[in-house]
Symmetry: C2
Subunit: 388 residues, 2 copies
């Protein structure tokens, strides 16, 4: 904990099978007009839509709809949502869905009263919010992004082939989030596994950075062990409540700012994955899994000590008779075996990438400076090639 | 994560060497009258008092003092503080000190506008707050209780020989806390070590309960490993900033409600320790260390599996060729060796307890029902006897 920092996370969480009742405590705090934001029709099929609408009506709310939020919400859709929120004179934006819907709701919330182009202001120039913010609440139906308890918002611009995240301050965090593990049961297995790796990647991005002794690293080792344990159960039995609820809780704490406090972080896997996503529209977690092993193997020589610690603390690698490098490599092998065993996508070819797309993807990749090696564009291409 | 629960922790933390500057951001949010609450003269000797007073004056505050808060704040002192806060028409109570001072400040904050006897209402009848609460801020100078980010408040009544804690809701949590690890450097080693064990005990009270698979247990194993690692460094070199800052951060997260979410908890060690404290006025953390080994050895047969997990995950006990019971016992032996090595008090005789006091202490001990064995008064006496 070497750095100076502030910590404040005001989001109120309602967790468990009865979590949706939290709406009865929260809705009275806001005005009459609610913009209900969601994605495709899945929440209509599984009954969550009906339950939410019933609670909104019971609480005397006027409901305005903004449906069709896509897995990678676009800047065009953002402009549409802003127009809808304005027309509704929304007092509350209620996001019902996964991270994409929640990310999008936050982007709308800071853009309605913004006199600038929101894509340019927040995602190209990374400027702070300087206008009124419409409060956001969240009913989570897919686990992974941690968007339910942070200020993150990732938007894709197809014209510019860019997928960029802005991390907003605590005034943009959802005021409340409803976390019912059973709401995630109907998710296809591919999406569940993708979410699990998104969580793992969030933790690893913050773990593989820095050489100081930081309590956060110990917390992250605990989160990873619990995640691996619960993921193994959930892959066999997706309706194991205990496993699914642990995964949901880990997702929240993996990316609600806590474990990054007082330490440096990397986020290069996300930059590589987001470049893949911008060019293929592939599922977020799978873009991360597809690039992770080539990236980590490439940077291992620059952070061997931490990779060796990871191998022992998370993957139970026995260090006896091994060099630090051997231990580190054995940890990555164990991770790779596990990734394959739960069904993750292990290369970008399977996500629709071809060799001709690599140069464009390299160009779309933002280079971070918190990892064990600051990559050059040439190195990024080597990693993408190894991911094919 | 099997239970239904809500989580919200609104306390804003300012952490690091420059944390005190956080007062400049926080003080303008409150009215003019500040009740400055502190203990003995140590903050005057180490210069923290002068720094805080200077910042209060710079921010145009009128300062009213309430000094002399004792290590185990009494109900009589609470009544005195209420009178002082009333006379000051306090808009903010600023606690500068350790957990006792912060606990006391919270008790005053909910008692000023209370038309009942606060000891009876909150600590005997455990009633909720039904009156206006005066906001509390905290400048922490001693680490251990976690009082800086929770609603806990422990008050002692000498006439009734009772030391009782009330856990207030999030509206009573400090609005902000200033955590500068360097403010803890001047603390005598005895107090530092006592605080370290208080932290460990908070974690273990929440760890040794329940048989479900809960992410919190993994987080706690991480916190314990980091605590043991940093404590070993701090005992050798009390001004190692990295170690002291980790310890400070672990203390906060050990008892700010997070790791108890969705799981059962015990707190029997605290009940035993508080009974010792009520009869001897001994330092809190040392009362916990003195009773812990006898208590854990007594309940081990009822929770062997968890004690074995603890041995492997926290104390690196090699399970090879051992029964579960052997592993569990080896973990407690490792813990005992470590406790002795850092200088903790290992029996209640050293804290001033004599055999004649045991019956009275048994009578003062509240019996909890979340551990692996609900104790009878006879068993409590056996444990106290083994602690002599």
């Amino acid at each position: 904990m070497l750095g100076n920092f502030t910590y404040c996370n005001p989001t109120k969480l309602y967790f468990g099978e009865d979590a949706l009742n939290g709406l009865n405590a929260e809705l009275p705090k806001y005005g009459k007009n609610v913009l209900l934001v969601y994605g495709g029709g899945s929440i209509k099929k599984n009954g969550i839509y009906d339950k939410v609408v019933a609670l909104l009506k019971e609480n005397g709310k006027e409901i305005f709809e903004d449906a069709g939020v896509m897995p990678n919400p676009t800047s065009d859709k953002l402009n549409e949502g802003v127009a809808r929120a304005k027309a509704a004179q929304a007092d509350l934006i209620l996001a019902v869905g996964g991270g994409s819907v929640c990310d999008y709701a936050k982007a709308v919330s800071v853009s309605v009263h913004c006199n600038d182009d929101p894509w340019e202001k927040y995602f190209i120039r990374f400027e702070d919010v300087s206008c009124k913010i419409i409060p956001v609440g969240c009913v989570l139906t897919m686990v992974g992004t941690g968007s339910e308890m942070n200020g993150g918002s990732v938007i894709t611009n197809h014209q510019q082939k860019l997928k960029i995240g802005h991390v907003f301050g605590e005034n943009v965090f959802p005021k409340f989030s409803i976390l019912n593990p059973k709401f995630t049961y109907t998710l296809p297995k591919y999406q569940m596994i993708s979410g699990i790796f998104d969580i793992m990647s969030h933790i690893l991005e913050q773990y593989f950075s820095g050489t100081d002794d930081n309590t956060s690293d110990y917390i992250m080792e605990g989160l990873l062990r619990s995640l691996i344990h619960s993921a193994n159960i959930a892959v066999e039995n997706p309706t194991d409540y205990e496993a699914r609820s642990n995964i949901m809780w880990i997702a929240t704490w993996a990316l609600n700012t806590l474990v990054a406090k007082g330490k440096s972080t990397d986020w290069m896997v996300h930059m590589l994955g987001q470049a893949v996503g911008a060019h293929t529209d592939a599922t977020h977690g799978m873009t991360l899994s597809a690039v992770s092993m080539p990236y980590y193997r490439y940077i291992l020589p620059y952070g061997t000590k931490k990779f060796a610690r990871y191998a022992e603390a998370v993957w139970n690698v026995n260090p006896k008779g091994k060099t630090e490098e051997d231990i580190a490599k054995a940890g990555l092998c164990a991770m790779e075996d596990w990734m394959k065993s739960i069904g993750l996508v292990m290369n970008i070819t399977d996500l629709g990438t071809t060799e001709e797309m690599l140069d464009g993807m390299v160009e779309s990749t933002l280079i971070m400076n918190g990892g064990y090696k600051i990559l050059t564009p040439e190195e990024i291409k080597i990693i993408f090639k190894a991911s094919l």
